[in-house]
């Protein structure tokens, strides 16, 4: 080759071509998307995640969850992603998705954790798979007079001696508390938490964040962990699939979840959990564990703040909201009234749904 100038121009040119073509131009096209709203400018999707869930994404990335779990749903003409149902949960399990993923689903994500491999299932909609309000009583039939229970659930057992997490009678009364927090005011949700850090009545305010820390995902608040030890309604002794308690237990001991999960190659994330002696009352968010995983009597396993963030993040993952640019599978749950604008109502709203 003769001459340096053509060589350098060529080297610059080819690389600039690739740089502009694959990063700069796409960035013009999809690099500044806004949330989609309906005609009135409400019902915005997506919304930024709460602080805890946002921190949870960092933990998700830093601990390498991304190498085995994808967060992108491929279209139905090229894969079975949309037809697939999750393994756990009442059959038929919750579907992986109702629609394919679109760039707009990720506009608030940083880092974006699309994933590249599936040694584990896709989790793009794992928060959507959490048990809803109606399913909860079915999963926990012991609920009777639930609405009144949250208060007794925490105060009477306070004087129970630090006993084993076995089946003492007062603890059983906390089981009916399960379905309740959904309609109960926030104080109830946060009140049981301080048990993690000290004597229950002492410091209610120190609890860093209640499980309700992810406002955008209402099921998060509902899925108060730890059903009562003895009154486990589920024949397998497991919390309802994809609830917060379920995620905690899954992170702590993945292969204990069900007999058909023995092949799971997910590592246990026990370092995200702490072992405490039970002082006073058993913590509300202590994990329900059996067999080999169970702590010795008088001890309990509670999630660290990082584990709570991670679970809050998982519970917030939900791409079920319809998007105008993507076809939603027929028969899919399409509750939000964003898509069929029956009457355009000449309101001169500045039409945000344009992209």
């Amino acid at each position: 080759m003769k001459g340096l100038v053509p060589l350098f121009i060529g080297l610059f040119g080819t690389f600039a071509f690739s740089w502009v073509g694959l990063t700069v131009i796409p960035n013009w096209q999809i690099g500044a998307l806004n949330p989609q709203t309906d005609e009135e400018g409400t019902d915005a999707y997506p919304t930024p995640k709460s602080g805890m869930a946002d921190r949870g994404r960092q933990i998700y990335a830093a601990n390498g969850c991304i190498y085995c779990h994808s967060q992108q749903i491929r279209p139905d003409y090229d894969s079975a992603d949309i037809d697939r149902v999750r393994d756990a949960g009442p059959s038929p399990g919750p579907k992986w998705a109702e629609r394919r993923s679109a760039p707009r689903d990720y506009i608030f994500d940083r880092p974006v954790v699309l994933g590249q491999e599936r040694m584990g299932p896709d989790v793009a909609n794992i928060g959507k798979a959490a048990p809803t309000e109606e399913e909860k009583p079915a999963a926990a039939p012991a609920a009777n007079v639930a609405a009144t229970s949250p208060a007794p659930a925490q105060s009477p057992p306070a004087n129970v001696p630090p006993s084993k997490p076995g089946p003492p009678a007062p603890a059983a009364s906390s089981a009916p508390a399960q379905p309740a927090p959904a309609q109960s005011p926030p104080p109830n949700a946060s009140a049981p938490k301080p048990g993690t850090s000290g004597p229950p009545p002492a410091a209610p305010a120190t609890s860093p964040a209640p499980p309700a820390g992810s406002p955008p995902a209402p099921p998060a608040a509902a899925a108060n962990p730890s059903p009562g030890p003895s009154a486990s309604p589920n024949p397998t002794g497991l919390p309802p699939a994809y609830s917060e308690a379920w995620h905690h237990r899954h992170l702590y001991s993945p292969r204990s979840m069900s007999p058909d999960n023995r092949d799971s190659t997910m590592p246990a994330y026990k370092f995200l959990y702490e072992k405490h002696p039970i002082s006073g009352e058993r913590s509300a968010d202590a994990l329900q564990l059996e067999g080999r995983d169970a702590p010795p009597p008088g001890w309990e396993i509670v999630p660290t703040y990082e584990a709570k963030c991670l679970v809050a993040y998982l519970m917030s993952l939900d791409q079920s909201h319809p998007l105008k640019e993507v076809k939603t599978a027929p028969g899919g749950a399409a509750p939000p009234a964003g898509s069929p604008p029956a009457a355009p109502t000449g309101s001169s709203a500045p039409a945000p749904p344009k992209k």
Partner: protein, 494 residues
């Protein structure tokens, strides 16, 4: 077949007087690169051993997840990026820079000025990798593939790179002779592309982060171009030097080389997005990358043909020369790697192979079977010229070669076939998801066996390299041949 006796196993000497002058000059140039290049190699070897042990660990933990899982910094999800980054930045980049600097000095026919500045750069680079590794282990991984090092480690790497490469480029400035050899195109291109690539990716991900899925696009654009335009370019340049040099014959065609070089620069830089097939992106991006991947058949064919025609009639030399054997293996793997890349990027196959272990096989074919094998070859050529000793044990070289070749072959095969079953099961909704995991587990165990082979191979090589480094090589004027040259006539095994 050319009889082995007629094969020039040494550089052909033109005439006594001219040859002496040239040899003296070469010796002087080699001596000037001695300290920095050996430091590059020694650091790279240490990282290679660390990365190899991590690889075995990661591979084993993937099918036996309860092994050491209770310690935060030994969890699989942190060790995997450490393994990957140690291999890419610790081993691959360092050995590539060492070889590139030596080649640059040789081809510019000028001594390396200010080697101490490069040595400083090497220290900085090592420190950068250490900082990055500690960052990932402590849980500060960024979560972008191949860019997991926290951004502050990238700053250190960048400083180191500037220190190292500015002098390599300066060498080019002081070159003698007008001819710019093919190898130099590739090396100059790599020197220029890498900082641009790295800076662009860091800027678009950490300094002025792009929105949403564009981060993934930038990430894969970076990862693929790092493989092709940085490591791949240096490997191809090295092959263009080593093959003609060892067999003592000019490259078959300069025209083919030109076509191969420019199409390589043009097409392989546009690949990357096919790793996001069917993802949440505009379809044109992915289609453009698939098209570019298919078009890489042009550089592959021209480069492959060029090497093949150069080697024509000289393939038996592979029986003797360690350098040639490794280099030709790598050059052939470049073809295989690219063809596999084309096959798995097509939408019809990607719907099965996307999200499976097959992508790991692809990365290893590029980074190991192609790049690393060529680098091993170059080390077998360069190290004796730096330490003034010859490799001591031909048996160890043979063991190294066969363990590496079988190891990477077994790994690629396992992961490609395993990926196919895994992908087919994932698309079969009559099976539960966990069954698709179960179906790939036997192949993942097979990969652990491959990792063991590679571990053996790397420790053998490290031992041999250590002997050379401490001056325990053979004192001889004849290079170490894999087989005795006189054993001619037995051509059943080329």
């Amino acid at each position: 077949m050319t009889p082995a006796a007629a094969i020039p196993l040494k550089e052909p000497t033109v005439s006594a007087a001219a040859g002496d002058a040239e040899q003296l000059e070469r010796a002087r140039i080699d001596a000037s690169t001695r300290v920095p290049v050996l430091m590059f190699y020694a650091s790279a070897m240490v990282w290679l051993l660390i990365g190899t042990l991590l690889a075995g660990f990661v591979s084993f933990k993937l099918h036996s997840p309860d092994w050491f899982s209770d310690v935060s910094f030994l969890t699989w999800g942190r060790l995997r990026p450490v393994h990957m980054n140690v291999m890419v930045y610790g081993w691959a980049s360092m050995v590539a820079m060492g070889t590139a600097i030596w080649l640059m000095a040789r081809l510019c026919r000028t001594t390396l000025r200010h080697p101490l500045i490069i040595v400083t750069g090497i220290w900085f680079w090592n420190i950068g990798v250490v900082i990055g590794v500690i960052g990932i282990l402590m849980g500060y991984s960024t979560g972008y593939d191949w860019l997991e090092f926290p951004p502050y480690a990238a700053v250190v790497l960048f400083v180191a790179y500037a220190l190292i490469i500015s002098w390599a480029v300066l060498m080019f400035r002081f070159r003698r002779g007008d001819q710019i050899y093919i190898t130099q195109w590739y090396l100059l291109a790599a020197f220029l592309w890498f900082p641009w690539l790295y800076a662009a990716a860091q800027a678009m991900l950490f300094v002025v982060p792009v929105q949403g899925v564009m981060q993934a696009a930038v990430g894969w654009w970076y990862a693929n171009n790092l493989l092709f335009l940085w490591l791949g370019a240096i490997a191809l340049g090295t092959a263009y030097y080593m093959i003609p040099k060892v067999i003592g014959r000019p490259v078959y065609s300069y025209h083919l080389a030109t076509i191969g070089f420019w199409t390589y620069a043009l097409f392989s830089s546009w690949t990357g997005m096919q790793r996001l097939v069917d993802g949440p992106f505009p379809a044109w991006m992915i289609t453009a990358s698939i098209a570019a991947t298919i078009l890489t058949i042009i550089p592959v064919a021209t480069v492959g043909l060029n090497h093949h025609m150069t080697m024509q009639g000289y393939f038996p030399v592979m029986r003797y020369s360690p350098t040639l054997r490794f280099t030709v293996f790598g050059a052939m793997s470049y073809t295989v790697f690219s063809v596999v890349g084309i096959l798995i990027s097509l939408r019809s196959t990607a719907r099965y192979l996307h999200f499976t272990e097959a992508s790991i096989a692809y990365s290893h074919m590029g980074l190991y079977a192609f790049f690393t094998m060529i680098m091993f070859g170059s080390m077998y050529y360069i190290v004796p010229r730096l330490v003034g000793r010859e490799w001591r044990y031909a048996t160890l070289i043979k063991l190294h070669f066969w363990a590496s070749a079988y190891g990477v072959g077994l790994m690629s095969l396992m992961l490609l076939v395993g990926g196919l079953t895994q992908g087919a099961d994932q698309n079969d909704t009559s099976m539960t998801f966990i069954e698709s995991v179960a179906s790939v587990l036997p192949y993942v165990r097979g990969r652990t066996v491959a990792a063991l082979l590679l571990t053996v191979s790397h420790f053998i090589f490290a031992f041999h390299f250590g002997l050379m480094l401490f001056g325990l090589g053979r004192t001889s004027t004849v290079p170490t041949f894999l087989n005795p040259v006189e054993a001619e006539g037995s051509e059943e095994h080329l």
